[in-house]
C-alpha cells in the first residue's frame, strides 16, 4: 500500500470532488481517494505496482470524458478564464436587455379572439415561449441545461426527459382539467411559491455558472451540489422538473389551463394543453440543446458565463416579481 498524489485539472465545481472520488474508488486496487479542490490535488492509496506516471494515465482515462485529467507534474493552467467573464458580462446583459425590450415593446400583446382551439393554443404557446414566461420557465431550462452540460459533456438524456415530462404532464393534466371541470383550483399562492423557488434555484445555478463558487468566494456546503449531482443522475428528476413546469407561474399557461378547464371533455383539454406545450417547445428545446452543443465548442467558457449572467438577471427579475405577486413587496416592474 502506498499513497500517491496527483495534480488534477478540470475541477470547476464542488460536485466534481464527489464525482472523481466515486469514480476512482470504483477502480480495483485504489482506496481512499481524496480530492482537495482548493489545491487541485488528488491523493489515493493504492496497492497497484504501476509507476505513478502510468497510473496517472490509467486514471485519467476513467475521468477524461467528464473533462478531468490527472498528472504527476502540475500543469500550468491557462488562465484565460479571467478575461472571459469580462466578455461574458456584456453578452449576458445584452440578451437580458433584449428580453426586456421585447416585453416592453408590446409586440407580444396581440389579441386572439374567439374560442381556444388547439391551433390557437399552439400559437399562444409560441408567443408564450418568448414572453415574460421565459423569465421563469426558460431561465430554469437554461440554468439546468447549462449546469448539466457543464458537468457531463454531451449528455442530452436529462433534457429529453425534461421535455418529455413537460409534454406528458401538459397533456395529461390538461385532459384532467377538461374532464373534471372546475374541480381543481390551481392555487395562486402555490404557483407563486413554486416560482420563487425556481428563481432562487436559477440565481444559485447562475452564480455557479459564472464561476463564483469555483474560486471559493462563496463557500457553499458541497452537499448542495452533491444533491444536484444526484438529481442529474436520476432519470426521474429531470422528468419531474418537466412535470412541475405545468404549475410554474406563467400567465399564458394559466389562461390555457382555464381554457382546458372550460373545454368540457378530457380530449379537448388534452389537445389544448398539448398544442400549447408543443408551441413552447421550439424555444425551450433551443435553450437546452443549444447549451449542450455550445458546451462542446471551444467557446464553452464564454457560453457558460454568459448564460450565468443571463440566468442571474432573469432569476432576480422572477424573484422580485414573484414576491410582488404574493404581495410581500411593492411591484417594481411593469413591463
Amino acid at each position: 500500500m502506498k499513497t500517491l498524489t496527483f495534480h488534477v485539472s478540470g475541477t470547476h465545481c464542488a460536485s466534481c470532488k464527489i464525482f472523481i472520488e466515486d469514480t476512482l474508488n470504483e477502480q480495483i486496487g485504489i482506496n481512499r481517494t481524496n480530492v482537495d479542490l482548493k489545491r487541485e490535488i488528488v491523493s489515493i492509496d493504492t496497492t497497484l505496482d504501476e509507476s505513478q506516471h502510468k497510473l496517472a494515465e490509467i486514471l485519467t482515462e476513467k475521468i477524461k470524458h467528464n473533462g478531468y485529467s490527472l498528472s504527476v507534474e502540475k500543469k500550468t493552467r491557462e488562465r484565460k478564464d479571467n478575461g472571459v467573464i469580462w466578455q461574458a458580462l456584456p453578452i449576458g446583459l445584452a440578451f437580458l436587455a433584449l428580453f426586456f425590450i421585447i416585453q416592453k415593446s408590446g409586440v407580444l400583446n396581440f389579441g386572439l379572439g374567439g374560442t381556444v382551439t388547439p391551433v390557437t393554443s399552439f400559437i399562444i404557446g409560441l408567443v408564450a415561449s418568448v414572453s415574460s414566461c421565459l423569465a421563469v420557465v426558460g431561465g430554469l431550462v437554461l440554468s439546468l441545461s447549462a449546469t448539466v452540460s457543464q458537468d457531463k459533456i454531451s449528455d442530452v438524456k436529462p433534457m429529453m426527459l425534461f421535455h418529455g415530462g413537460r409534454l406528458i404532464s401538459f397533456a395529461v393534466l390538461g385532459g384532467v382539467l377538461g374532464a373534471i371541470g372546475s374541480a381543481i383550483g390551481i392555487s395562486f399562492t402555490l404557483t407563486a411559491i413554486l416560482g420563487i423557488i425556481a428563481s432562487v434555484v436559477m440565481i444559485v445555478l447562475g452564480l455557479n455558472l459564472v464561476g463564483l463558487f469555483e474560486k471559493n468566494l462563496i463557500a457553499l456546503p458541497s452537499g448542495f451540489f452533491s444533491f444536484f449531482r444526484k438529481v442529474e443522475h436520476k432519470t426521474i428528476a429531470p422528468f419531474l422538473v418537466g412535470v412541475g413546469t405545468f404549475f410554474l407561474p406563467c400567465g399564458f399557461t394559466q389562461a390555457m389551463q382555464v381554457a382546458a378547464l372550460s373545454s368540457g371533455s378530457f380530449l379537448s383539454g388534452l389537445l389544448i394543453m398539448t398544442a400549447f406545450a408543443l408551441g413552447t417547445l421550439p424555444m425551450l428545446a433551443l435553450l437546452s440543446f443549444g447549451s449542450a452543443s455550445f458546451a462542446q465548442s471551444k467557446h464553452s467558457p464564454l457560453f457558460f458565463k454568459s448564460a450565468g449572467v443571463l440566468v442571474i438577471g432573469l432569476g432576480a427579475f422572477a424573484l422580485l416579481a414573484g414576491l410582488a405577486g404574493l404581495g410581500i413587496i411593492d411591484p417594481l416592474f411593469n413591463i
Binding site: 466578455q87 436587455a97 416592453k104 389579441g111 379572439g113 400567465g251 405577486g325 413591463i335
Partner: protein, 129 residues
C-alpha cells in the same frame, strides 16, 4: 487585459442604464379625475382594461363611496388575465374575453387598492383621496 475589463464595464453599465430607461415608467399621472370612472346610483365604478398589462396604470378616485372595480378582458391570454387584488381578497384567472366585477367595499380617503398579475410583472393601482 485591464483595458478590456474597463471596456466591458462601460458597455455593461450602458446596457443596464439603457434598459432601465426603456423599461421604466414614464407615464405621469394625468389629471385629478380619471375618465374611466363613473358614478351610478351612488356607486363608483372604475374600469381597468387587462391586456398585456393593465390600463390605466393608476386611477384617482374619491374616498368614502361604495366602489366596484370592473376588469375588462378582450382576447387576453397573458399574465394580466390572472389577477390578484389582495386587499379585496380577489384571486382569479379571468375569462379571455369578458368583464369581472370586483367589490372593493367603501374605501376611505388615502387608501390604495393594488392589483397584480400572478407573476407580479404587471400591476395597477387605484388611489382614493
Amino acid at each position: 487585459m485591464q483595458k478590456n475589463t474597463i471596456i466591458s464595464i462601460i458597455i455593461s453599465v450602458a446596457i443596464i442604464g439603457g434598459t432601465l430607461y426603456f423599461v421604466s415608467d414614464r407615464t405621469t399621472p394625468s389629471g385629478t379625475q380619471s375618465q374611466n370612472v363613473e358614478i351610478r346610483d351612488g356607486v363608483q365604478y372604475v374600469t381597468v382594461t387587462a391586456k398585456g398589462g393593465y390600463s390605466p396604470r393608476t386611477t384617482q378616485l374619491k374616498g368614502g363611496l361604495p366602489t366596484k372595480l370592473i376588469v375588462k378582458t378582450d382576447g387576453t391570454y397573458d399574465c394580466s388575465a390572472s389577477l390578484a387584488v389582495r386587499s379585496a381578497g380577489f384571486q382569479k384567472i379571468l375569462q379571455p374575453t369578458g368583464e369581472e366585477i370586483i367589490d372593493l367595499g367603501t374605501p376611505k380617503s388615502g387608501e390604495k387598492v393594488q392589483g397584480v398579475c400572478s407573476m407580479g410583472m404587471y400591476n395597477f393601482a387605484v388611489n382614493f383621496n
